[in-house]
Symmetry: C2
Subunit: 221 residues, 2 copies
């Protein structure tokens, strides 16, 4: 268990022995779930930190009209809903469902506070993780303000090029970019292909060469 935790964003920088020392004398639980199990209900009180140590889960919301909205998939060894343990609104934002057989560690809030006090590395990891989440959401909201996928892509590529470079490297996989843009992955690939067909860019895996900077900028008008 302590072996896998060293790869978790909030424990990285610790050796398995240091992690074991952190856990000594602290309260925590390890729980198993089967594929399809509901691990957490939306609106359940978030007074504990849950870290996946085996398997995959998905976060979903059920709208009042009964539609299931899938939010995201999360893999071990990542923590769940890390930004909901502190702050005003301590409720899980989504239902969390096991995609396969899953093992989790549950740390009561008080244990997390003790880890923060005991380890500066853990503290900085925690601050980084919550901040990364905010940064991701801020960018996602920004990209939502562009209507079409081609607009989103044009903006992303122009940002990377800083309006100077003619070749940029996508810093994310197509899957990650699709998540950032809030679109399906095939739609993203189609958008790139269309820009290429129109002679605006040339795609070579993660490398993008800007062929027609003017047309690319005009997509945003």
């Amino acid at each position: 268990m302590f072996d896998i935790l060293q790869y978790s964003p909030i424990f990285k920088g610790h050796t398995p022995i240091e992690i074991k020392t952190l856990f000594t004398n602290e309260i925590y639980q390890v729980i198993d779930f089967k594929k399809g199990d509901l691990i957490i209900s939306r609106d359940e009180e978030c007074n504990k930190l849950i870290i996946l140590i085996k398997g995959n889960v998905k976060g979903e919301m059920l709208s009042y009209s009964g539609k299931v909205i899938k939010i995201e998939d999360i893999q071990a060894p990542r923590p769940l809903a890390i930004a909901f343990l502190f702050g005003r609104n301590n409720k899980f934002p989504v239902d969390i469902i096991a995609i396969d057989d899953v093992k989790i560690i549950v740390l009561p809030k008080n244990t997390v506070v003790k880890f923060i006090q005991k380890s500066e590395v853990f503290l900085i990891n925690y601050l980084n993780s919550v901040s990364n989440r905010t940064q991701f959401l801020t960018r996602k909201l920004y990209f939502l303000s562009f209507k079409t996928i081609k607009e989103k892509l044009a903006n992303y590529i122009l940002e990377l090029s800083n309006k100077e470079k003619t070749t940029v490297e996508l810093l994310k996989s197509h899957q990650e970019l699709a998540e950032l843009f809030g679109v399906a992955r095939p739609s993203l690939s189609r958008g790139l292909a269309e820009l290429e067909k129109e002679g605006i860019i040339k795609v070579n895996r993660k490398k993008i060469r800007i062929i027609d900077q003017q047309k690319l900028s005009q997509l945003l008008n």
Copy 2:
């Protein structure tokens, strides 16, 4: 200066004397700006925490097509871009411009880390502030998935009522709700008025009585 900081979300719970003690021997700067001044450029490195101690600022983005997108107004004594000091992407997300005469304190990241180590109250405040930001953005993204203002309102009211209560109290001002929904404030008021005219709800300031629960739910179909 220490008097006003006690009302800032990241210093609350400290007396002015305790705040003064925190600052003793630490590096910080106090800077004045005039109305209209650019305080921070978007993409400038975020290696410092800026706290407004006098006046108001606005956060803006300039799109590649030259359009100014206003993001939000921030009042003293709030910190700016608190989620961008830690995490991977340490760049200010927006241009920050003085709306009137403004005074700021600039704390280098290292000073913030020292405050976190010296004061558990500051640490918890900081975690709460970043988490609140994430929670706000998560809800904002959620509400963006509903197309019309009436859909957003129906969802918000049904959430508050938990599908049981017939009278709910809006927990936010119209201005705050408009920000959460990403719409203009007059549009929000119009949406409420329309729902009232259609006999679905009855509005009495922040109190909303649900007259026709079924129609309210149907708005989401």
